[in-house]
Amino acid sequence: MVFFINQTINGIVFGMLLFLLAAGLSLMLGIMRIVNLAHGSYYLLGGYIGFSIAKHTNNFFLACLGGLLAIGILGMFTYKVILEKRFAREALGQVLITFGMLLIISDLCRWIWGGIPLAIPKPQILQGAIYFGKIVFPLYRLAVIIMGGVILIFLWWFQERTKYGAIVRAGVDDDEMTQGIGINISFVKTLIFSIGALIAGFAGVVGGPFIGLSTGLDIDILLLAIVVVIIGGMGSLWGAFVGALLIGLIDSFGKSLLPELSIFTIFATMVIVLAIKPSGIFGTK
């Protein structure tokens, strides 16, 4: 029983991290039809930057801020300088460019921070735990779950209540049409890409105390985020949330019950969802 609850908590926490990534990916896919294969790299790089900041300042929240800002700026720069150009119009071009970035960032991270797994220490105030009988609920994990919920609400508000979100929902990417209503579509796209990147970087720092930072994590987590988007449905915020929790739980239980086949269970889930509804649970078309 204790085991079950612990795994559930871990699964939900991991799911929250995945949600942060998948939400960004899904947003980028939904309106800009960009597959950002460097998204996992944003997570890892953000985490590493946060690690360095935490090491030098002993301040976890500064680390979060640093990771978030650094990757947000990187995302903005990447979009404006590279992805908006004509050679990046087609899907394949974007895939190749973002994949190139994955390779570069991955190697840079290994160069700067080494190949040994690192972890970011939890902030002081979140060191403790709450006790329910035999169950230990670490405060940090609780905080991550709450934070995930907060970001979900924020993204929901952004999508449903702001004019930028309206554009996302309309799936409009026609320059002339949106200029007519006084919105600069390029600005919106840059904003969305930057927000997605920023959240990914933030997730990297937040996940630091929980899953750590290591070489290869960028690809691992990118793949899981992609599976979440496939299962949840491209462009759907709820799909990203539900899918992320689902995959988080499957991963958590899978790794502890069937360690050799845990990847297979995730794959099987993806196959089953695709067979029933090829566009994902909350997907359209």
């Binding site: 896919l29 039809r33 597959v35 590279i82 150009k85 050679f87 990046a88 899907a91 394949l92 071009g93 895939v95 190749l96 460019i97 994949f99 190139g100 970035m101 994955l102 390779l103 570069i104 991955s106 190697d107 840079l108 160069w111 690809i219 793949l223 992609i226 599976v227 988007v229 496939i230 491209m234 360690p259 050799e260 086949l261 990847i263 297979f264 995730i266 794959f267 993806m270 196959v271 695709l274 067979a275 090829p278 078309k285």
Partner: protein, 313 residues
């Protein structure tokens, strides 16, 4: 219609390839063996990507599965090389993986397809990585013996002899793939690439054509996988990894998607650069990433087409 310079170019290249062990040191002969193996691998992906229009970041799935089959049979079961069985099993395993994956994957739209193939291939990597008892985990399976071709006096332990062995397969594979791509079936693949709706309204079951193309492409990738197992003498999860899929993908794009021989040239270029760079630095991945970005920015149609345009001037 056909460029008269093409047959001449082919003859020159063949002459060069057939005689290079005579004037190059064994190290480079070995390197060319690797280039040729990846040439087969890249051409196989071109059938899917350049001709059918189905880009894939998961082609290593077929390459690696086939290589592992050889490894498992060679090291664990036969404790030596049983070439006939290994050859057939390798190719069949790639075809089986493709026939299963194809059922799941080919109904999805373009972007989804790419992601699903990428995920599927990495799933296989994960299985190879974790299943120590079968695959040796991240240590892989060392100790793969090369085929013993008696009574033919070919000692595949020799770099030169192995090179000719691989070259023979390359020529056979290249001829077969050339025929496939220029056949009626290959012609319909072009139609699918250009306009799926048009093909459907003309009466084609495009899902079936794609499925067949998928399997055919996998078969040749599997052949390359068999050869890489013998070349390396071991097999490891790297053969199934995303980076391998990425390397072969950029070989196709850099060489020229849809030209068949372009990707083979692309393979040669990437292997050469990788070999050169690895002599100076560990950071091949950064260079590869830069190649990715630069190719899209400056040479998206590929080196082969650029060269052809240059020849026409």
């Amino acid at each position: 219609m056909k460029n008269p310079k093409l047959p001449i170019a082919i003859v020159i290249i063949l002459a060069f390839l057939s005689t290079l062990p005579l004037f190059l040191p064994p190290y480079y002969t070995g390197l060319f063996s690797l280039m040729i193996i990846f040439g087969i691998f890249a051409m196989s992906l071109d059938i899917l990507q350049g001709y059918t229009g189905l880009p894939s970041l998961g082609h290593a799935a077929f390459f690696g599965t086939s290589a592992y089959m050889v490894g498992i049979l060679n090291v664990k079961i036969f404790k030596g090389c049983n070439f006939g069985v290994e050859l057939i099993t390798g190719i069949l395993s790639a075809a089986v993986v493709a026939s299963i994956l194809g059922l799941i994957v080919l109904r999805s739209k373009e972007v989804y397809l790419l992601m699903i193939l990428m995920a599927s291939s990495m799933m296989l990597w994960g299985i190879a990585f974790k299943w120590r008892s079968l695959t040796g985990g991240d240590d892989g399976l060392p100790g793969i013996s090369r085929p013993d071709l008696r009574p033919i006096h070919w000692d595949l332990g020799s770099t030169t002899h192995f090179y000719y062995f691989v070259l023979l397969f390359f020529i056979v594979a290249a001829v077969l793939m050339y025929l496939v791509v220029h056949s009626s079936f290959g012609h319909t693949l072009l139609g699918i690439r250009e306009s799926e709706t048009r093909m459907r309204s003309l009466g084609y079951n495009i899902w079936l054509q794609k499925y067949i193309a998928f399997i055919v492409s996998a078969v040749f990738a599997g052949l390359a996988g068999i050869l890489i197992a013998y070349y390396n003498g071991f097999v490891s999860p790297a053969e199934l990894h995303l980076v391998t899929s990425a390397e072969v993908l950029i070989m196709v794009i850099l060489g020229g998607a849809g030209t068949l021989f372009g990707p083979a040239i692309g393979a040669g270029i990437i292997i050469l650069i990788k070999n050169f760079v690895s002599g100076y630095t560990e950071h091949w991945m950064i260079i590869l990433g830069a190649i990715y970005i630069f190719t899209v920015m400056f040479a998206p149609q590929g080196v082969y087409r650029l060269f052809r345009q240059f020849l026409q001037k």
